[in-house]
């Protein structure tokens, strides 16, 4: 069953989470019960595919053993080779699941949410390496964090230390009332985004474009803007559901969107769109690359280093979406935009060519919106598929 994909799923959730709400309003601890709910919900989500369920179990054992072994190793040693090896082993299942469809009909490694679970696992290894996680993690908490069902299919990607804090903090009845209210509010927002606006854009506009548009160019132009809005309402709707359910379970999962179509520039956009993923790539790819290069003194020019970091980040982000040409071009497109904006920002600091006022602010938002929509047009694959 697809999480948040049908009303039946929400009815099941309402029944499962009723005791959580009662316990929360009474100011009693509910995380042990929520762990039980997570297991039941995972069972329901993966009940339609035994292959995926088995892949999830094997993957979880793999990640947990890897994390536990690396934490034990890190207490005594801090070797580079072992760290790189642990990171490679952590992302190996994801790489295999992305590659396998090109070689085999059956993908026995992949399952719904493998990417987001991998990001969590790799993050734990990296934070252990940095000395941010020193203690051995209790197995139940580690499993609860990795398999937290509200965010299992597409995030948002939470951080272990933040998640753990939410588990530690006692919530009073009054505090839970606010959490519950915020959670329900987000769930309603999710219904508005996904089931009403997103559905209407796709069902009434995109699928009828051939009757609406008068030329091929017009068709592609309408598709570009409609798909961009559809993608936003689809994904932001999902995120609202995931965050809303997390809140009801007493976990403040991070936000994924912050009015992305009001971004002033491409850098601003990546601080507003799919935030938990872009921050993950910023912290664990870009920052590490820049730090590593600075330490090794291979590249001394800071600007060049920053641009190379952006190119690496967006190429990886593109490839992560898939090895299809549209995702790779999408990554290249955003890398080039970021490099161009970086250069423009430096130029403007020196020459004050683009003043900062209300008019330029609005113009910047309009330009960025169209540039972003073209990016989504590439992402949609419409540009590369013949006959659509």
């Amino acid at each position: 069953m697809t999480p948040y994909g049908s009303f039946t799923f929400f009815f099941i959730l309402a029944v499962l989470l009723a005791p959580t709400v009662i316990l929360g309003l009474k100011g009693k601890r509910f995380h042990t019960y929520n762990m039980f709910v997570s297991i039941i919900a995972l069972g329901i989500i993966f009940s339609s595919s035994i292959n995926q369920a088995v892949a999830l179990i094997v993957f979880t054992i793999w990640q947990v053993v890897l994390i536990k072994v690396y934490i034990a190793y890190r207490k005594k040693n801090n070797g580079n080779t072992i760290f790189y090896f642990a990171v490679i082993l952590s992302i190996l299942p994801l790489v295999l699941s992305k590659m396998l469809p090109y070689f085999s009909v059956v993908n026995f490694v992949g399952f719904l949410g493998i990417s987001y679970l991998t990001f969590k696992g790799t993050q734990l290894i990296m934070e252990t390496r940095d000395g941010l996680i020193k203690k051995d993690l209790p197995l139940s908490r580690l499993l609860y964090y990795i398999l937290f069902f509200p965010t299992i299919s597409s995030g948002p990607i939470d951080r272990y230390r933040r998640f753990d804090k939410d588990l530690e903090v006692g919530i009073s009845g009054e505090q839970y009332q606010l959490l519950l209210y915020e959670g329900l509010n987000k769930i309603f927002l999710g219904f508005l985004y996904k089931f009403i606006i997103g559905y209407s854009i796709n069902h009434f506009f995109i699928t009828n474009l051939r009757f609406i548009a008068h030329s091929h160019f017009e068709h592609q132009l309408y598709y570009m803007y409609a798909y961009s809005l559809y993608l936003f309402f689809d994904f932001a709707g999902y995120s609202a559901f995931a965050i809303g359910v997390s809140y009801i379970m007493g976990i403040k999962s991070p936000e994924n969107f912050n009015k992305p179509f009001l971004s002033r520039n491409i850098k601003d956009f990546w601080n507003r769109w799919h935030m938990s993923l872009s921050f993950w790539f910023r912290d664990y790819v870009y920052m590490r690359f820049v730090f590593w290069m600075t330490k090794k003194k291979w590249i001394k020019n800071r600007n060049l280093l920053s641009n190379l970091g952006y190119i690496l980040l967006f190429l990886l982000m593109g490839i992560w979406h898939g090895l299809e040409v549209q995702y790779i071009i999408y990554g290249v497109y955003h890398a080039l935009l970021m490099v161009a904006y970086n250069s423009f920002e430096r130029f403007n600091k020196k020459h004050k060519w683009w003043p900062q006022n209300k008019v330029t602010h609005i113009i910047a938002i309009i330009i960025t919106f169209h540039v972003i929509c073209f990016g989504f047009y590439i992402f949609s694959g419409q540009l590369f598929h013949k006959g659509v």
């Binding site: 697809t2 948040y4 994909g5 049908s6 009303f7 039946t8 719904l112 990417s115 299919s153 597409s154 309603f188 219904f191 508005l192 996904k194 089931f195 009403i196 997103g198 559905y199 209407s200 796709n202 993608l231 689809d234 994904f235 999902y238 992560w320 979406h321 898939g322």
Partner: protein, 49 residues
């Protein structure tokens, strides 16, 4: 005038009413679009990644 408007819009009862209408509208729209059938809004795009 602005002060009076600000007081009016920060009124708790009005806020509560606004929220009630917002939730009700969403529920009504869901009902008109899907009726008593289970939703068929399609899978999520990002579930594929």
């Amino acid at each position: 005038m602005i002060k009076r408007l600000l007081v009016f819009f920060t009124n708790q009862k009005l806020k509560w009413m606004g929220r009630f209408v917002y939730y009700l509208l969403i529920l009504l729209l869901l009902f008109f679009m899907y009726g008593f059938n289970d939703a068929s809004a399609g899978s999520y795009i990002y579930n594929d990644f």
